[in-house]
């Protein structure tokens, strides 16, 4: 009877027992910051759930979510896969130069919904002639040299060409992005554009300011965006978030509002991008002391959040609606606010998945 067998057997069983006990005791966290979701709760026994097998499934989910050392184990897995050559994890491309990209290829891109949404915008802009449409190109399209070697990405140029053939007032910013590529137009760890990227687009539309008109204040140097969370264990760098402060505007140039322009509390959370406008909300308005009577209504996704501070320069009233969360009547809202301009502003990838735009459909 070899001693090594005895030791090994007992050691292994001890590992199994400890794993189980520690997992049961590991009840501290109920929300995962890296995954941005609530972790499974310990299920209550219920004969119906048992009969359907759901009780067992819930128990398994609980154990899976609360496994002792779970995050470190997942980091280990990601590292091993990366060193074996894998360059995409959880639909994120791990690119060169520390760039992370959403993995958007012709296999997972929702072409049908894209076409439907474009058609909705088309109809909408026939009815409301003061509508402009802006789609922000993806980081993977502009910075394709930093994609992993041989990686495929959707051909965004075809999409922009398709839109331009329609009678929509479409603002194509791809040339601006390509020209200014050497500057930091997107975050490395997040799919959003930076404040600088938003500025260049703003300036392209309104053409009335220079970089020096603003104080560029670094409000964070520790931003790790949505793409970082998906590949825990692999990303080491952080991004900086800048606030662009208009030198010519007074501190209280916002006269009335139902929201913060900047939510400093959010910088303490994982998702620091929520700093802009406090995250995604359904309806936000600002009234400035720009007494020019002009107003703009923006239908948006999260991309416009860092764009809003620039647009306050030009309008007295700014209305911002996120159609995913807005439950009011869009037609009534437009009639009531009667905006001078309407802007539909989305990132291309979000736009192709978005179902909120259905609320713009069939507005008579």
């Amino acid at each position: 009877m070899k001693k090594s067998n005895i030791v090994f057997s007992i050691l292994f069983v001890a590992i199994l027992i400890m794993g189980g006990i520690l997992t049961l005791l590991n009840n501290k966290s109920f929300f995962s910051f890296t995954e941005n979701r609530y972790l499974a709760l310990f299920p209550n026994f219920d004969f119906y759930n048992f009969k359907e097998g759901k009780y067992m499934l819930d128990l398994e989910n609980y154990v899976n979510d609360h496994l002792i050392g779970r995050e470190n184990l997942i980091k280990l897995k990601n590292k091993v896969q990366y060193y074996m050559g894998k360059r995409d994890i959880q639909d994120v491309y791990i690119g060169k130069n520390d760039y992370l990209f959403e993995k958007v290829t012709s296999d997972n891109f929702n072409f049908n919904r894209l076409k439907e949404n474009i058609e909705i915008v088309n109809e909408f802009s026939q009815k409301y002639k003061n509508t402009k449409f802006l789609l922000v190109p993806s980081k993977g399209y502009i910075y394709d040299e930093y994609l992993p070697s041989f990686a495929t990405y959707i051909e965004e140029k075809e999409i922009f060409d398709y839109i331009k053939e329609m009678n929509i007032n479409f603002i194509d910013v791809t040339d601006i992005f390509f020209q200014r590529k050497s500057e930091k137009l997107y975050y490395k760890t997040d799919h959003h554009w930076t404040t600088l990227g938003a500025f260049y687009v703003y300036n392209y539309i309104f053409n009335n300011s220079k970089i020096d008109d603003y104080n560029w204040v670094e409000v964070s140097d520790s931003f790790k965006g949505t793409l970082d969370s998906k590949i825990i264990g692999l990303n080491k760098i952080s991004d900086s978030i800048y606030l662009a402060q208009n030198k010519k505007l007074l501190n209280d140039f916002i006269v009335n509002s139902n929201s913060y322009l900047y939510d400093w509390e959010k910088l303490k959370n994982k998702n620091q991008y929520d700093f802009f406008l406090g995250g995604n909300t359904d309806e936000v308005y600002f009234e400035t002391n720009n007494k020019n009577g002009k107003s703009i209504l923006i239908f948006k996704d999260s991309f416009a959040n860092s764009f809003v501070s620039f647009i306050l320069n030009d309008y007295q009233f700014v209305y911002i609606i996120d159609l995913r969360y807005f439950n009011g009547n869009v037609l009534d809202y437009i009639k009531e606010k009667n905006p001078t301009d309407i802007l539909i502003l989305y990132g291309l990838n979000n736009f192709s998945d978005d179902i909120g735009l259905l609320k713009l459909q069939n507005i008579k």
């Binding site: 090594s4 030791v7 590992i15 154990v63 496994l67 897995k77 050559g85 041989f150 495929t152």
Partner: protein, 464 residues
């Protein structure tokens, strides 16, 4: 419940081990039976009654068979045997094949039959074959009847092999039921086998499997030669590591409780011809079919080619209620007939690298039939693999290759016995069990890490 889950590894297994080794020897089968029922009920809270019925059914058949045989009533004995076979096949056919049969009837007769969708109970293909092997072996006089229903139930429901095999014949295990002797050596060997199986399934099979899934989701007519081969190779490795990994875990767990199950895989991709392949792949199934179908039909003494074809059609059908599986079985049936009948194939020199490569290509072609939804897509896929109306590479080829090259190489090396020989040599020269044991613990942790990664589920947008 799956072996490759945290609930099994950190709760069910240690609990079973503790209870098992705390109780006196004569109670140990009861502990196994209890936990086996729990194990099965975890996945099938309702259908467990079918398995319990199946167990009781063949237990009673065995008792009556023995009783009437002692009374020398050969007619009744034969009738009981037929009842057992028909009953078991009936249950299996109803739960596994009725929808398939009805669909085919509908297509032939061009009618619409309102037949409900039958869900197949987990493991039914395995446990019906096991109970059938019992009655047939009692009939043949190979094993004594088992009068103790608890022991018999323990055999049928033994949780290591209950859900995914290997198919254990009663004759291989009935001694172990009573007279097995557990030991630290066996337990330790069982742990190591379990860890290897877990590693194969969770690290190798799952990883190479996701490569296959990616390629399978591409429309077959857009595939290039290169990508089609990567996909076929990925599946070839996935199914081997998945299945043999699970068998390894079953054998390992069996050892922890003193049972010696027979090997189910023997480096099948080292086969030198197709006959050799089927002596190395899913050995328990081909053994079962040989003993209980091929030989009773006449074996290689009477019309052997027809017997072969029947056995292989059934083997294919056993794998799934779908024509592509039957075709896959027929494909191997034809190859085996050719090998057994064409002289120059029989007398081929062994250990020839080209023989291995040629055999491997035949096996991979077989897998294409296995994983395709239907015959026409299998042929479409094969066209791509053989450069018919096809580009050499496409936009996916290099990305898939370079991202997975190391993984493919590891899969290839571990599908041969080179590593095992190497490790045996090292072990003989340097007797340092401590380092080897540590390596197993590391493999275990790595496997747990990969399992944990599969549970990672991030949400981009937060909604209350």
């Amino acid at each position: 419940m799956l072996f490759s889950s945290f609930i099994f590894i950190f709760f069910f297994l240690p609990l079973t081990i503790i209870c098992y080794y705390l109780v006196p020897k004569k109670t140990r089968n009861f502990v196994l039976l209890f936990f086996s029922i729990l194990f099965y009920m975890w996945g099938e809270p309702i259908y467990i009654f079918i398995m319990l019925f199946s167990t009781l059914f063949d237990y009673i058949n065995g008792i009556f068979l023995d009783y009437f045989r002692n009374k020398n009533n050969n007619l009744v004995v034969k009738i009981i045997l037929i009842i057992s076979i028909v009953g078991n096949l009936g249950i299996l056919t109803f739960f596994k094949y009725s929808n398939f049969l009805v669909n085919n009837l509908e297509n032939i007769l061009n009618v619409n039959i309102n037949f409900p969708l039958i869900v197949m109970p987990i493991g039914i293909s395995f446990y019906t074959f096991q109970t059938m092997s019992y009655t047939i072996d009692v009939y043949k006089g190979i094993v004594p009847v088992q009068k103790n229903i608890w022991k018999f139930a323990t055999y049928v429901m033994l949780f290591p092999q209950l859900i995914a095999g290997p198919i254990i014949k009663y004759s291989d295990i009935y001694n172990d039921l009573d007279k097995r002797r557990e030991s630290f050596e066996m337990f330790s060997s069982g742990i190591k086998r379990f860890i290897i199986g877990l590693f194969k399934k969770v690290v190798l099979a799952n990883s190479i499997g996701s490569v296959f899934v990616t390629i399978k989701s591409i429309s077959f007519d857009q595939l290039s030669f290169f990508t089609a081969w990567i996909g076929a190779l990925a599946f070839t490795f996935q199914i081997y590591y998945d299945f043999s990994g699970y068998s390894d875990m079953a054998i390992g767990i069996g050892k922890m409780f003193g049972f010696n199950f027979k090997e189910n895989f023997n480096y099948p991709y080292m086969a030198k011809n197709i006959t050799d392949f089927w002596r190395r792949w899913h050995i328990s199934l081909s053994t079962w079919f040989k003993e209980y179908v091929y030989i009773p039909l006449g074996g290689n003494k009477k019309h052997k080619n027809i017997n072969l074809m029947i056995v292989w059609l059934l083997t294919g059908l056993w794998h799934g209620a779908s024509w592509n599986f039957v075709f896959w079985g027929a494909y191997f049936g034809i190859l085996l007939i050719l090998e057994k009948n064409i002289n120059f194939l029989k007398k081929r020199k062994t250990c020839n690298i080209w023989a291995h490569i040629f055999t491997m290509i035949l096996i991979i072609i077989g897998w294409v039939f296995f994983f395709s939804e239907n015959l026409s897509s299998s042929f479409l896929y094969l066209e791509k693999m053989f450069l018919i109306k096809t580009n050499i590479v496409d936009k996916y080829s290099f990305y898939l290759l370079f991202n997975n090259l190391v993984l493919f190489i590891i899969c290839f090396i571990l599908s041969t016995d080179k590593l095992e020989s190497l490790l045996k040599n090292i072990k003989n020269k340097f007797d340092k069990p401590f380092i080897f044991n540590l390596a197993y613990i590391f493999l275990f942790i790595l496997s747990i890490a990969f399992l944990a990664g599969d549970t990672y589920n991030p949400f981009l947008y937060f909604r209350f």
